[in-house]
Protein backbone atom coordinates (compact mmCIF):
# COMPACT_ATOMS: atom_id res chain seq x y z
CA UNK A 1 0.00 0.00 0.00
CA UNK A 2 1.14 3.51 -0.74
CA UNK A 3 1.91 5.71 2.21
CA UNK A 4 0.84 8.93 0.55
CA UNK A 5 -2.59 9.00 -1.02
CA UNK A 6 -4.49 11.86 -2.56
CA UNK A 7 -8.23 11.88 -3.00
CA UNK A 8 -10.85 14.05 -4.64
CA UNK A 9 -14.01 14.22 -2.60
CA UNK A 10 -17.50 14.98 -3.90
CA UNK A 11 -19.86 16.01 -1.12
CA UNK A 12 -23.56 15.25 -1.63
CA UNK A 13 -26.50 16.29 0.48
CA UNK A 14 -29.26 14.05 -0.79
CA UNK A 15 -29.32 10.27 -1.05
CA UNK A 16 -31.23 10.22 -4.35
CA UNK A 17 -28.86 12.73 -5.95
CA UNK A 18 -26.02 10.55 -4.67
CA UNK A 19 -27.43 7.39 -6.25
CA UNK A 20 -27.72 9.11 -9.64
CA UNK A 21 -24.30 10.66 -9.23
CA UNK A 22 -22.66 7.30 -8.59
CA UNK A 23 -24.17 5.92 -11.79
CA UNK A 24 -23.14 9.02 -13.75
CA UNK A 25 -19.59 9.11 -12.45
CA UNK A 26 -19.06 5.42 -13.09
CA UNK A 27 -20.39 5.75 -16.64
CA UNK A 28 -17.68 8.34 -17.43
CA UNK A 29 -15.04 5.77 -16.54
CA UNK A 30 -13.92 7.33 -13.27
CA UNK A 31 -13.15 4.66 -10.68
CA UNK A 32 -14.77 5.41 -7.33
CA UNK A 33 -12.66 4.52 -4.30
CA UNK A 34 -15.61 4.37 -1.89
CA UNK A 35 -18.75 6.27 -0.90
CA UNK A 36 -19.23 7.27 2.75
CA UNK A 37 -22.63 7.94 4.26
CA UNK A 38 -24.11 8.83 7.65
CA UNK A 39 -26.72 6.08 7.30
CA UNK A 40 -27.31 3.06 5.05
CA UNK A 41 -28.50 4.22 1.64
CA UNK A 42 -30.60 1.58 -0.04
CA UNK A 43 -29.42 0.58 -3.48
CA UNK A 44 -25.99 2.20 -3.09
CA UNK A 45 -24.22 -1.15 -3.12
CA UNK A 46 -25.96 -2.02 -6.40
CA UNK A 47 -24.96 1.17 -8.24
CA UNK A 48 -21.43 0.80 -6.92
CA UNK A 49 -21.42 -2.74 -8.30
CA UNK A 50 -20.57 -4.48 -5.03
CA UNK A 51 -21.14 -8.19 -4.82
CA UNK A 52 -23.66 -9.42 -2.29
CA UNK A 53 -22.22 -9.89 1.16
CA UNK A 54 -21.38 -13.50 2.00
CA UNK A 55 -21.95 -12.94 5.71
CA UNK A 56 -25.22 -14.95 5.68
CA UNK A 57 -23.19 -17.97 4.53
CA UNK A 58 -20.80 -17.46 7.43
CA UNK A 59 -23.76 -17.26 9.80
CA UNK A 60 -25.18 -20.50 8.41
CA UNK A 61 -21.88 -22.36 8.76
CA UNK A 62 -21.31 -21.13 12.31
CA UNK A 63 -24.89 -22.08 13.13
CA UNK A 64 -24.30 -25.61 11.82
CA UNK A 65 -21.16 -25.78 13.92
CA UNK A 66 -23.19 -24.73 16.98
CA UNK A 67 -25.82 -27.43 16.38
CA UNK A 68 -23.23 -30.15 15.89
CA UNK A 69 -21.20 -29.12 18.94
CA UNK A 70 -24.29 -28.99 21.13
CA UNK A 71 -25.61 -32.37 20.00
CA UNK A 72 -22.20 -34.03 20.25
CA UNK A 73 -21.69 -32.62 23.74
CA UNK A 74 -25.12 -33.71 25.00
CA UNK A 75 -25.02 -37.21 23.52
CA UNK A 76 -21.48 -37.74 24.78
CA UNK A 77 -22.22 -36.56 28.31
CA UNK A 78 -25.65 -38.10 28.75
CA UNK A 79 -25.35 -41.36 26.81
CA UNK A 80 -21.68 -42.34 26.87
CA UNK A 81 -19.65 -40.59 29.55
CA UNK A 82 -21.95 -40.87 32.57
CA UNK A 83 -25.35 -42.39 31.76
CA UNK A 84 -27.97 -41.87 34.45
CA UNK A 85 -31.61 -42.80 34.67
CA UNK A 86 -33.54 -39.55 34.94
CA UNK A 87 -37.33 -39.80 35.10
CA UNK A 88 -37.18 -43.18 33.37
CA UNK A 89 -36.05 -41.52 30.17
CA UNK A 90 -33.77 -42.96 27.54
CA UNK A 91 -30.13 -41.96 28.11
CA UNK A 92 -30.14 -40.35 24.68
CA UNK A 93 -33.37 -38.38 25.21
CA UNK A 94 -33.19 -36.51 21.92
CA UNK A 95 -36.27 -34.25 22.38
CA UNK A 96 -34.75 -32.95 25.61
CA UNK A 97 -31.61 -31.93 23.74
CA UNK A 98 -33.44 -29.66 21.29
CA UNK A 99 -33.61 -26.48 23.44
CA UNK A 100 -29.88 -26.39 24.22
CA UNK A 101 -29.02 -27.28 20.60
CA UNK A 102 -31.21 -24.44 19.35
CA UNK A 103 -29.67 -21.93 21.74
CA UNK A 104 -26.12 -22.93 20.85
CA UNK A 105 -26.96 -22.72 17.14
CA UNK A 106 -28.15 -19.15 17.58
CA UNK A 107 -25.23 -18.25 19.83
CA UNK A 108 -22.53 -19.49 17.49
CA UNK A 109 -24.26 -18.18 14.35
CA UNK A 110 -24.59 -14.70 15.85
CA UNK A 111 -21.10 -14.49 17.34
CA UNK A 112 -19.45 -16.13 14.34
CA UNK A 113 -21.11 -13.81 11.87
CA UNK A 114 -20.42 -10.70 13.92
CA UNK A 115 -16.80 -11.82 14.34
CA UNK A 116 -16.40 -12.23 10.59
CA UNK A 117 -18.03 -8.83 10.07
CA UNK A 118 -15.61 -7.18 12.50
CA UNK A 119 -12.60 -8.76 10.84
CA UNK A 120 -13.70 -8.15 7.27
CA UNK A 121 -14.61 -4.52 7.92
CA UNK A 122 -11.58 -3.94 10.12
CA UNK A 123 -13.67 -2.89 13.10
CA UNK A 124 -11.67 -2.94 16.31
CA UNK A 125 -11.28 -0.57 19.25
CA UNK A 126 -7.74 0.43 18.30
CA UNK A 127 -8.48 0.94 14.59
CA UNK A 128 -7.48 4.34 13.23
CA UNK A 129 -9.94 5.04 10.43
CA UNK A 130 -9.28 7.41 7.57
CA UNK A 131 -11.82 10.12 8.15
CA UNK A 132 -12.41 11.89 4.85
CA UNK A 133 -14.76 14.45 6.29
CA UNK A 134 -16.18 14.72 9.81
CA UNK A 135 -19.60 15.50 8.37
CA UNK A 136 -19.85 11.95 7.01
CA UNK A 137 -21.22 10.76 10.34
CA UNK A 138 -23.54 13.75 10.52
CA UNK A 139 -25.40 14.73 7.37
CA UNK A 140 -23.20 14.50 4.26
CA UNK A 141 -22.48 11.76 1.77
CA UNK A 142 -18.94 11.77 0.42
CA UNK A 143 -17.70 10.13 -2.77
CA UNK A 144 -13.95 9.55 -2.60
CA UNK A 145 -11.91 9.19 -5.77
CA UNK A 146 -8.32 8.04 -5.57
CA UNK A 147 -6.23 10.13 -7.94
CA UNK A 148 -3.62 7.40 -8.38
CA UNK A 149 -6.30 4.99 -9.57
CA UNK A 150 -7.52 7.42 -12.21
CA UNK A 151 -4.19 8.51 -13.66
CA UNK A 152 -5.57 8.43 -17.20
CA UNK A 153 -7.85 11.35 -16.38
CA UNK A 154 -7.10 14.97 -15.55
CA UNK A 155 -7.87 15.97 -11.95
CA UNK A 156 -9.78 19.01 -13.17
CA UNK A 157 -11.88 16.81 -15.45
CA UNK A 158 -12.82 14.54 -12.53
CA UNK A 159 -13.77 17.54 -10.45
CA UNK A 160 -16.00 18.77 -13.26
CA UNK A 161 -17.70 15.40 -13.50
CA UNK A 162 -18.39 15.45 -9.77
CA UNK A 163 -19.76 18.99 -9.92
CA UNK A 164 -22.09 18.21 -12.81
CA UNK A 165 -23.32 15.07 -11.04
CA UNK A 166 -24.76 17.17 -8.24
CA UNK A 167 -21.96 17.47 -5.69
CA UNK A 168 -22.41 20.58 -3.55
CA UNK A 169 -18.69 20.75 -2.79
CA UNK A 170 -15.60 19.26 -4.38
CA UNK A 171 -12.56 19.04 -2.11
CA UNK A 172 -9.08 17.59 -2.04
CA UNK A 173 -7.94 15.33 0.74
CA UNK A 174 -4.58 13.74 1.33
CA UNK A 175 -3.48 11.19 3.87
CA UNK A 176 0.09 10.62 4.92
Amino acid sequence: MERDTHFILGVYEDEDVLLHAVKEVRSTGVKIHEVYSPYPVHGLEHVLGYKRSRLPIAAFLFGMLGTSLALTMQFYMMKFDWPMIIGGKDFAAFPDFIPVSFEMTVLLAAFGMVGVFMVSSNLKPWAQPRIFDVRITDDKHVMAIDIANNSSMEVEKIKEILKSSGATEVNNKSFE
Binding site: D16, S37, F111, R130, I136, T137
Partner: protein, 454 residues
Protein backbone atom coordinates in the same frame (compact mmCIF):
# COMPACT_ATOMS: atom_id res chain seq x y z
CA UNK B 1 -39.14 13.39 -5.76
CA UNK B 2 -40.09 12.03 -2.36
CA UNK B 3 -43.68 11.25 -1.52
CA UNK B 4 -44.95 12.72 1.73
CA UNK B 5 -48.08 10.79 2.57
CA UNK B 6 -51.11 12.71 3.68
CA UNK B 7 -52.57 9.62 5.31
CA UNK B 8 -49.68 8.32 7.35
CA UNK B 9 -48.32 10.32 10.24
CA UNK B 10 -44.69 11.34 9.84
CA UNK B 11 -42.35 9.17 11.95
CA UNK B 12 -40.37 12.19 13.07
CA UNK B 13 -42.17 15.49 13.60
CA UNK B 14 -40.94 19.07 13.80
CA UNK B 15 -39.40 19.19 10.31
CA UNK B 16 -36.01 17.88 11.41
CA UNK B 17 -32.98 17.88 9.10
CA UNK B 18 -30.24 15.26 9.27
CA UNK B 19 -28.08 17.63 11.24
CA UNK B 20 -30.91 18.30 13.70
CA UNK B 21 -31.11 14.57 14.42
CA UNK B 22 -27.39 14.44 15.15
CA UNK B 23 -27.56 17.53 17.28
CA UNK B 24 -30.69 16.66 19.28
CA UNK B 25 -29.40 13.24 20.25
CA UNK B 26 -25.70 14.03 20.69
CA UNK B 27 -26.21 17.11 22.84
CA UNK B 28 -27.45 14.79 25.60
CA UNK B 29 -24.13 12.98 25.59
CA UNK B 30 -22.01 16.11 25.21
CA UNK B 31 -23.70 18.48 27.63
CA UNK B 32 -23.43 18.63 31.40
CA UNK B 33 -26.01 16.39 33.04
CA UNK B 34 -29.14 18.22 34.12
CA UNK B 35 -30.30 18.51 37.72
CA UNK B 36 -33.22 16.21 36.95
CA UNK B 37 -30.79 13.56 35.73
CA UNK B 38 -28.62 13.92 38.83
CA UNK B 39 -31.57 13.58 41.18
CA UNK B 40 -32.89 10.56 39.30
CA UNK B 41 -29.46 8.93 39.19
CA UNK B 42 -28.78 9.53 42.88
CA UNK B 43 -32.19 8.12 43.82
CA UNK B 44 -31.50 4.99 41.79
CA UNK B 45 -28.01 4.63 43.24
CA UNK B 46 -29.45 5.13 46.73
CA UNK B 47 -31.97 2.34 46.20
CA UNK B 48 -29.12 0.19 44.89
CA UNK B 49 -27.05 0.87 48.02
CA UNK B 50 -30.01 0.19 50.30
CA UNK B 51 -30.90 -3.02 48.51
CA UNK B 52 -27.32 -4.23 48.59
CA UNK B 53 -27.63 -4.56 52.39
CA UNK B 54 -30.29 -7.24 51.82
CA UNK B 55 -28.21 -8.81 49.08
CA UNK B 56 -25.10 -9.03 51.25
CA UNK B 57 -27.15 -10.39 54.16
CA UNK B 58 -28.59 -13.07 51.88
CA UNK B 59 -25.16 -14.03 50.55
CA UNK B 60 -23.64 -14.01 54.04
CA UNK B 61 -26.36 -15.90 55.91
CA UNK B 62 -27.76 -17.97 53.06
CA UNK B 63 -31.20 -18.11 51.52
CA UNK B 64 -32.73 -18.90 54.89
CA UNK B 65 -33.01 -15.12 55.05
CA UNK B 66 -35.91 -15.37 52.62
CA UNK B 67 -39.47 -16.25 53.55
CA UNK B 68 -39.40 -19.62 51.84
CA UNK B 69 -40.56 -22.69 53.75
CA UNK B 70 -40.72 -26.42 53.09
CA UNK B 71 -44.00 -26.12 51.16
CA UNK B 72 -43.21 -22.98 49.21
CA UNK B 73 -39.70 -23.41 47.87
CA UNK B 74 -40.10 -20.84 45.13
CA UNK B 75 -41.72 -17.48 45.74
CA UNK B 76 -40.44 -13.92 45.41
CA UNK B 77 -37.15 -14.85 43.84
CA UNK B 78 -38.61 -16.79 40.92
CA UNK B 79 -41.50 -14.32 40.61
CA UNK B 80 -38.99 -11.51 40.26
CA UNK B 81 -36.87 -13.57 37.88
CA UNK B 82 -39.77 -14.27 35.52
CA UNK B 83 -40.99 -10.69 35.82
CA UNK B 84 -37.62 -9.19 34.84
CA UNK B 85 -37.09 -11.68 32.02
CA UNK B 86 -40.54 -10.81 30.72
CA UNK B 87 -39.68 -7.12 30.73
CA UNK B 88 -36.52 -8.00 28.89
CA UNK B 89 -38.53 -9.22 25.92
CA UNK B 90 -39.68 -5.94 24.45
CA UNK B 91 -36.31 -4.64 23.32
CA UNK B 92 -35.38 -7.49 21.06
CA UNK B 93 -38.95 -7.83 19.91
CA UNK B 94 -38.94 -4.19 18.82
CA UNK B 95 -35.58 -4.32 17.12
CA UNK B 96 -35.78 -7.82 15.60
CA UNK B 97 -39.42 -8.69 14.96
CA UNK B 98 -40.36 -5.18 13.88
CA UNK B 99 -37.29 -5.08 11.62
CA UNK B 100 -38.42 -8.25 9.87
CA UNK B 101 -41.93 -6.79 9.53
CA UNK B 102 -40.41 -3.55 8.21
CA UNK B 103 -42.08 -1.40 10.85
CA UNK B 104 -40.04 1.76 10.51
CA UNK B 105 -41.40 3.39 13.64
CA UNK B 106 -39.13 1.09 15.61
CA UNK B 107 -36.09 3.23 14.72
CA UNK B 108 -36.68 5.90 17.40
CA UNK B 109 -37.30 3.50 20.24
CA UNK B 110 -35.18 0.42 19.55
CA UNK B 111 -31.95 1.69 21.12
CA UNK B 112 -33.45 2.46 24.54
CA UNK B 113 -35.69 -0.61 24.45
CA UNK B 114 -32.70 -2.86 23.78
CA UNK B 115 -30.76 -1.22 26.59
CA UNK B 116 -33.72 -1.88 28.85
CA UNK B 117 -33.73 -5.51 27.71
CA UNK B 118 -30.09 -5.99 28.59
CA UNK B 119 -30.44 -4.41 32.03
CA UNK B 120 -33.65 -6.32 32.78
CA UNK B 121 -31.99 -9.63 31.87
CA UNK B 122 -29.07 -8.81 34.21
CA UNK B 123 -31.57 -8.19 37.02
CA UNK B 124 -33.43 -11.40 36.17
CA UNK B 125 -30.32 -13.56 36.09
CA UNK B 126 -29.40 -12.42 39.61
CA UNK B 127 -32.28 -14.29 41.22
CA UNK B 128 -31.52 -17.87 40.15
CA UNK B 129 -27.84 -17.20 40.80
CA UNK B 130 -28.51 -16.00 44.36
CA UNK B 131 -30.98 -18.83 44.88
CA UNK B 132 -28.14 -21.29 44.28
CA UNK B 133 -27.09 -20.36 47.82
CA UNK B 134 -23.39 -20.48 47.06
CA UNK B 135 -23.18 -18.60 43.78
CA UNK B 136 -19.38 -18.76 43.73
CA UNK B 137 -19.75 -22.47 42.96
CA UNK B 138 -22.60 -21.83 40.56
CA UNK B 139 -20.61 -22.30 37.38
CA UNK B 140 -20.24 -26.00 38.19
CA UNK B 141 -23.96 -26.45 38.69
CA UNK B 142 -25.08 -24.42 35.72
CA UNK B 143 -22.50 -25.17 33.03
CA UNK B 144 -21.13 -28.46 31.72
CA UNK B 145 -17.63 -27.93 33.11
CA UNK B 146 -15.26 -30.85 33.78
CA UNK B 147 -15.07 -31.38 37.53
CA UNK B 148 -13.56 -33.68 40.14
CA UNK B 149 -16.75 -35.71 40.55
CA UNK B 150 -16.14 -37.88 37.61
CA UNK B 151 -16.99 -35.70 35.56
CA UNK B 152 -20.56 -35.69 36.73
CA UNK B 153 -22.29 -33.52 34.15
CA UNK B 154 -25.21 -31.15 34.42
CA UNK B 155 -28.60 -32.65 33.56
CA UNK B 156 -29.57 -31.84 29.99
CA UNK B 157 -33.07 -33.22 30.61
CA UNK B 158 -33.81 -30.38 33.00
CA UNK B 159 -35.65 -27.24 31.86
CA UNK B 160 -33.68 -25.30 34.47
CA UNK B 161 -30.52 -26.07 32.54
CA UNK B 162 -32.21 -25.15 29.25
CA UNK B 163 -32.93 -21.82 30.93
CA UNK B 164 -29.24 -21.28 31.64
CA UNK B 165 -28.48 -21.70 27.95
CA UNK B 166 -31.52 -19.73 26.78
CA UNK B 167 -30.95 -16.72 28.99
CA UNK B 168 -27.21 -16.51 28.53
CA UNK B 169 -27.63 -16.80 24.76
CA UNK B 170 -30.39 -14.22 24.78
CA UNK B 171 -28.31 -11.84 26.85
CA UNK B 172 -25.19 -12.14 24.74
CA UNK B 173 -26.96 -11.99 21.36
CA UNK B 174 -29.01 -8.97 22.48
CA UNK B 175 -25.84 -7.29 23.69
CA UNK B 176 -24.10 -7.86 20.36
CA UNK B 177 -27.15 -6.68 18.39
CA UNK B 178 -27.32 -3.55 20.52
CA UNK B 179 -23.61 -2.82 20.22
CA UNK B 180 -23.52 -3.25 16.44
CA UNK B 181 -26.24 -0.62 16.23
CA UNK B 182 -24.32 1.69 18.55
CA UNK B 183 -21.08 1.67 16.53
CA UNK B 184 -22.12 4.20 13.82
CA UNK B 185 -23.60 6.50 16.46
CA UNK B 186 -20.45 6.40 18.57
CA UNK B 187 -18.61 7.43 15.40
CA UNK B 188 -20.95 10.42 15.10
CA UNK B 189 -20.09 11.52 18.62
CA UNK B 190 -16.38 10.86 17.97
CA UNK B 191 -16.42 13.15 14.94
CA UNK B 192 -18.05 15.97 16.89
CA UNK B 193 -15.74 15.68 19.90
CA UNK B 194 -12.22 16.69 20.83
CA UNK B 195 -9.74 15.54 23.45
CA UNK B 196 -10.50 12.70 25.84
CA UNK B 197 -14.07 12.24 24.65
CA UNK B 198 -12.78 11.77 21.10
CA UNK B 199 -10.42 9.04 22.31
CA UNK B 200 -13.08 7.23 24.33
CA UNK B 201 -15.81 7.35 21.72
CA UNK B 202 -13.21 6.65 19.05
CA UNK B 203 -12.37 3.36 20.76
CA UNK B 204 -16.07 2.61 21.29
CA UNK B 205 -16.78 3.28 17.60
CA UNK B 206 -14.30 0.57 16.54
CA UNK B 207 -12.89 2.75 13.77
CA UNK B 208 -16.19 3.14 11.94
CA UNK B 209 -15.81 5.20 8.75
CA UNK B 210 -19.28 4.95 7.15
CA UNK B 211 -18.05 3.25 3.96
CA UNK B 212 -20.78 1.93 1.66
CA UNK B 213 -19.25 -1.54 1.80
CA UNK B 214 -19.32 -1.53 5.61
CA UNK B 215 -22.90 -0.29 5.58
CA UNK B 216 -23.82 -3.10 3.20
CA UNK B 217 -22.33 -5.65 5.59
CA UNK B 218 -23.90 -3.87 8.54
CA UNK B 219 -27.34 -4.19 6.95
CA UNK B 220 -26.70 -7.82 6.17
CA UNK B 221 -25.60 -8.48 9.77
CA UNK B 222 -28.63 -6.64 11.18
CA UNK B 223 -31.02 -8.64 9.05
CA UNK B 224 -29.50 -12.00 9.95
CA UNK B 225 -29.27 -11.06 13.63
CA UNK B 226 -32.94 -10.07 13.51
CA UNK B 227 -33.74 -13.39 11.89
CA UNK B 228 -31.84 -15.21 14.63
CA UNK B 229 -33.16 -13.07 17.47
CA UNK B 230 -36.81 -13.52 16.51
CA UNK B 231 -37.02 -17.27 17.25
CA UNK B 232 -34.60 -16.63 20.13
CA UNK B 233 -36.88 -14.13 21.86
CA UNK B 234 -39.80 -16.53 21.48
CA UNK B 235 -37.70 -19.45 22.72
CA UNK B 236 -36.52 -17.69 25.88
CA UNK B 237 -39.87 -17.22 27.53
CA UNK B 238 -41.04 -20.56 26.16
CA UNK B 239 -38.16 -22.19 28.03
CA UNK B 240 -38.88 -20.10 31.14
CA UNK B 241 -42.44 -21.44 31.03
CA UNK B 242 -41.02 -24.98 30.69
CA UNK B 243 -39.57 -24.51 34.18
CA UNK B 244 -43.19 -24.82 35.31
CA UNK B 245 -44.94 -26.63 32.48
CA UNK B 246 -42.70 -29.73 32.50
CA UNK B 247 -43.33 -30.29 36.22
CA UNK B 248 -46.27 -32.25 37.61
CA UNK B 249 -47.58 -29.53 39.93
CA UNK B 250 -51.31 -28.83 39.40
CA UNK B 251 -51.58 -25.30 38.06
CA UNK B 252 -48.18 -25.51 36.36
CA UNK B 253 -48.56 -28.66 34.30
CA UNK B 254 -50.28 -27.08 31.30
CA UNK B 255 -49.45 -27.04 27.60
CA UNK B 256 -50.77 -23.50 27.16
CA UNK B 257 -47.83 -22.04 29.08
CA UNK B 258 -45.33 -21.27 26.28
CA UNK B 259 -47.55 -19.00 24.10
CA UNK B 260 -49.21 -17.58 27.19
CA UNK B 261 -45.88 -16.66 28.78
CA UNK B 262 -44.53 -15.17 25.56
CA UNK B 263 -47.61 -12.97 25.14
CA UNK B 264 -47.34 -11.93 28.78
CA UNK B 265 -43.66 -11.12 28.33
CA UNK B 266 -44.31 -8.85 25.36
CA UNK B 267 -47.20 -7.28 27.26
CA UNK B 268 -45.09 -6.40 30.30
CA UNK B 269 -42.06 -5.48 28.20
CA UNK B 270 -43.99 -2.90 26.19
CA UNK B 271 -45.45 -1.52 29.40
CA UNK B 272 -41.95 -1.00 30.79
CA UNK B 273 -40.75 0.53 27.50
CA UNK B 274 -43.63 3.00 27.72
CA UNK B 275 -42.87 3.84 31.35
CA UNK B 276 -39.22 4.58 30.51
CA UNK B 277 -39.87 6.28 27.15
CA UNK B 278 -42.45 8.68 28.51
CA UNK B 279 -39.92 9.86 31.09
CA UNK B 280 -36.97 9.86 28.67
CA UNK B 281 -38.70 11.87 25.93
CA UNK B 282 -39.77 14.44 28.49
CA UNK B 283 -36.43 14.79 30.30
CA UNK B 284 -34.34 14.84 27.11
CA UNK B 285 -36.89 16.81 25.06
CA UNK B 286 -37.22 14.14 22.38
CA UNK B 287 -40.93 14.58 21.75
CA UNK B 288 -40.32 14.99 18.02
CA UNK B 289 -38.68 11.57 17.81
CA UNK B 290 -40.79 9.53 20.21
CA UNK B 291 -44.11 10.89 19.07
CA UNK B 292 -47.69 10.28 20.08
CA UNK B 293 -47.80 7.94 17.09
CA UNK B 294 -45.17 5.73 18.72
CA UNK B 295 -47.00 5.72 22.02
CA UNK B 296 -50.29 4.85 20.35
CA UNK B 297 -48.75 1.97 18.39
CA UNK B 298 -47.18 0.55 21.56
CA UNK B 299 -50.53 0.85 23.30
CA UNK B 300 -52.10 -1.16 20.49
CA UNK B 301 -49.52 -3.90 21.04
CA UNK B 302 -50.49 -3.78 24.72
CA UNK B 303 -54.19 -4.27 23.92
CA UNK B 304 -53.42 -7.25 21.68
CA UNK B 305 -51.03 -9.02 24.04
CA UNK B 306 -53.17 -8.12 27.06
CA UNK B 307 -56.16 -9.74 25.39
CA UNK B 308 -54.13 -12.86 24.57
CA UNK B 309 -53.12 -13.06 28.21
CA UNK B 310 -56.75 -12.62 29.28
CA UNK B 311 -57.89 -15.42 27.00
CA UNK B 312 -55.10 -17.61 28.38
CA UNK B 313 -56.29 -17.04 31.97
CA UNK B 314 -59.83 -18.04 31.05
CA UNK B 315 -58.68 -21.02 28.96
CA UNK B 316 -56.58 -22.30 31.85
CA UNK B 317 -59.59 -22.19 34.10
CA UNK B 318 -61.82 -23.91 31.56
CA UNK B 319 -59.29 -26.65 30.84
CA UNK B 320 -58.81 -27.29 34.57
CA UNK B 321 -62.55 -27.93 34.87
CA UNK B 322 -62.75 -29.85 31.57
CA UNK B 323 -59.81 -32.12 32.45
CA UNK B 324 -61.82 -33.68 35.26
CA UNK B 325 -58.67 -33.85 37.40
CA UNK B 326 -59.67 -32.89 40.92
CA UNK B 327 -56.24 -31.62 41.94
CA UNK B 328 -56.14 -29.39 38.87
CA UNK B 329 -59.66 -28.09 39.50
CA UNK B 330 -58.84 -27.36 43.13
CA UNK B 331 -55.64 -25.50 42.20
CA UNK B 332 -57.64 -23.05 40.10
CA UNK B 333 -60.61 -22.64 42.44
CA UNK B 334 -58.08 -22.02 45.21
CA UNK B 335 -56.35 -19.37 43.11
CA UNK B 336 -59.50 -17.36 42.60
CA UNK B 337 -61.22 -17.89 45.97
CA UNK B 338 -58.52 -19.18 48.36
CA UNK B 339 -56.38 -17.16 50.74
CA UNK B 340 -54.58 -15.53 47.81
CA UNK B 341 -57.78 -14.35 46.13
CA UNK B 342 -56.58 -10.73 46.35
CA UNK B 343 -53.48 -11.53 44.32
CA UNK B 344 -55.55 -13.33 41.70
CA UNK B 345 -58.04 -10.50 41.33
CA UNK B 346 -55.29 -7.86 41.27
CA UNK B 347 -53.81 -9.78 38.37
CA UNK B 348 -57.18 -10.03 36.58
CA UNK B 349 -57.96 -6.34 37.07
CA UNK B 350 -54.51 -5.03 36.10
CA UNK B 351 -53.87 -7.33 33.14
CA UNK B 352 -57.24 -8.14 31.65
CA UNK B 353 -59.57 -5.27 32.44
CA UNK B 354 -57.40 -2.15 32.59
CA UNK B 355 -55.61 -2.54 29.20
CA UNK B 356 -59.02 -2.72 27.53
CA UNK B 357 -59.30 1.01 28.28
CA UNK B 358 -56.86 1.50 25.40
CA UNK B 359 -59.70 0.79 22.97
CA UNK B 360 -60.67 4.42 23.54
CA UNK B 361 -58.56 6.65 21.34
CA UNK B 362 -58.67 9.42 23.96
CA UNK B 363 -57.01 7.14 26.50
CA UNK B 364 -54.40 5.57 24.25
CA UNK B 365 -53.28 8.97 23.00
CA UNK B 366 -53.06 10.47 26.48
CA UNK B 367 -49.60 10.62 28.02
CA UNK B 368 -50.83 10.60 31.61
CA UNK B 369 -53.24 7.70 31.07
CA UNK B 370 -50.62 5.70 29.19
CA UNK B 371 -48.04 6.26 31.90
CA UNK B 372 -50.42 5.22 34.68
CA UNK B 373 -51.69 2.18 32.79
CA UNK B 374 -48.13 1.09 31.99
CA UNK B 375 -47.43 1.02 35.72
CA UNK B 376 -50.67 -0.88 36.34
CA UNK B 377 -49.69 -3.49 33.73
CA UNK B 378 -46.28 -3.95 35.34
CA UNK B 379 -47.88 -4.46 38.74
CA UNK B 380 -50.39 -6.86 37.24
CA UNK B 381 -47.70 -8.90 35.55
CA UNK B 382 -45.78 -9.21 38.80
CA UNK B 383 -48.95 -10.55 40.43
CA UNK B 384 -49.46 -12.97 37.54
CA UNK B 385 -46.13 -14.67 38.26
CA UNK B 386 -46.75 -14.54 42.01
CA UNK B 387 -50.17 -16.16 41.55
CA UNK B 388 -48.86 -18.89 39.26
CA UNK B 389 -45.91 -19.72 41.49
CA UNK B 390 -47.15 -19.30 45.05
CA UNK B 391 -50.80 -20.35 44.78
CA UNK B 392 -49.85 -23.56 42.96
CA UNK B 393 -47.41 -24.47 45.73
CA UNK B 394 -48.89 -23.30 48.97
CA UNK B 395 -51.57 -26.01 49.22
CA UNK B 396 -49.76 -29.13 48.12
CA UNK B 397 -50.66 -32.81 48.34
CA UNK B 398 -50.80 -33.08 52.15
CA UNK B 399 -53.15 -30.67 53.93
CA UNK B 400 -50.94 -30.97 57.02
CA UNK B 401 -48.15 -29.18 55.16
CA UNK B 402 -50.27 -26.40 53.70
CA UNK B 403 -48.63 -23.04 54.32
CA UNK B 404 -48.64 -19.36 53.47
CA UNK B 405 -45.76 -17.33 52.14
CA UNK B 406 -44.65 -14.22 53.99
CA UNK B 407 -41.81 -12.20 52.46
CA UNK B 408 -39.03 -11.11 54.79
CA UNK B 409 -37.11 -7.85 54.65
CA UNK B 410 -34.43 -9.66 52.68
CA UNK B 411 -36.94 -10.71 50.00
CA UNK B 412 -38.08 -7.12 49.61
CA UNK B 413 -34.54 -5.79 49.82
CA UNK B 414 -33.14 -8.00 47.07
CA UNK B 415 -36.03 -6.98 44.83
CA UNK B 416 -35.23 -3.34 45.61
CA UNK B 417 -31.60 -4.01 44.79
CA UNK B 418 -32.56 -5.11 41.27
CA UNK B 419 -34.69 -1.99 40.86
CA UNK B 420 -31.75 0.16 41.91
CA UNK B 421 -29.45 -1.70 39.55
CA UNK B 422 -31.86 -1.44 36.62
CA UNK B 423 -32.45 2.28 36.97
CA UNK B 424 -28.82 3.10 37.75
CA UNK B 425 -27.73 1.33 34.57
CA UNK B 426 -30.53 2.90 32.57
CA UNK B 427 -29.70 6.43 33.71
CA UNK B 428 -25.99 5.90 32.98
CA UNK B 429 -26.95 4.63 29.53
CA UNK B 430 -29.26 7.60 28.94
CA UNK B 431 -26.52 10.06 29.78
CA UNK B 432 -23.47 8.55 28.10
CA UNK B 433 -24.91 6.69 25.14
CA UNK B 434 -27.05 8.11 22.33
CA UNK B 435 -30.59 7.15 23.42
CA UNK B 436 -31.93 7.22 19.89
CA UNK B 437 -30.42 5.34 16.98
CA UNK B 438 -29.36 8.37 14.93
CA UNK B 439 -28.26 6.47 11.82
CA UNK B 440 -31.50 4.53 11.57
CA UNK B 441 -33.68 7.56 12.22
CA UNK B 442 -31.80 9.38 9.46
CA UNK B 443 -32.50 6.53 7.09
CA UNK B 444 -36.26 6.91 7.55
CA UNK B 445 -36.18 10.69 7.84
CA UNK B 446 -36.62 11.52 4.19
CA UNK B 447 -39.97 9.84 3.82
CA UNK B 448 -41.21 11.21 7.09
CA UNK B 449 -39.99 14.76 7.53
CA UNK B 450 -41.26 17.54 5.31
CA UNK B 451 -38.15 19.68 5.56
CA UNK B 452 -35.77 16.91 4.58
CA UNK B 453 -38.08 15.92 1.72
CA UNK B 454 -37.69 19.27 -0.01
Amino acid sequence: MQVTSSVRQPLVTGGKTYHDVTHDVSRQVEGKPSLAWFLAFLTAAGVLALGSIALIATLWEGIGMWGLNKTIGWAWDITNFVWWVGIGHAGTLISAVLLLFRQKWRTSINRAAEAMTIFAVICAAMFPVIHMGRPWLGAYWALPLPNTFGSLWVNFNSPLLWDVFAISTYFSVSLVFWYIGLIPDFATIRDRATGLRKTIYGALSFGWDGAAKTWMRYESVSLILAGLATPLVLSVHTIVSFDFATSVIPGWHTTIFPPYFVAGAIFSGFAMVLTLMIITRKVFKLEDYITMGHIELMNIVIIITGSIVGIAYITEFFIAWYSGVEAEQYAFINRATGPYWWAYWSMMTCNVISPQLFWFKKIRTSIVATFLLSLVVNIGMWFERFVIIVTSLHRDYLPSSWAMFYPTWADVGVYLFTFGLFFTLFFLFAKFFPVINMAEVKSVLKSSSEKAAK
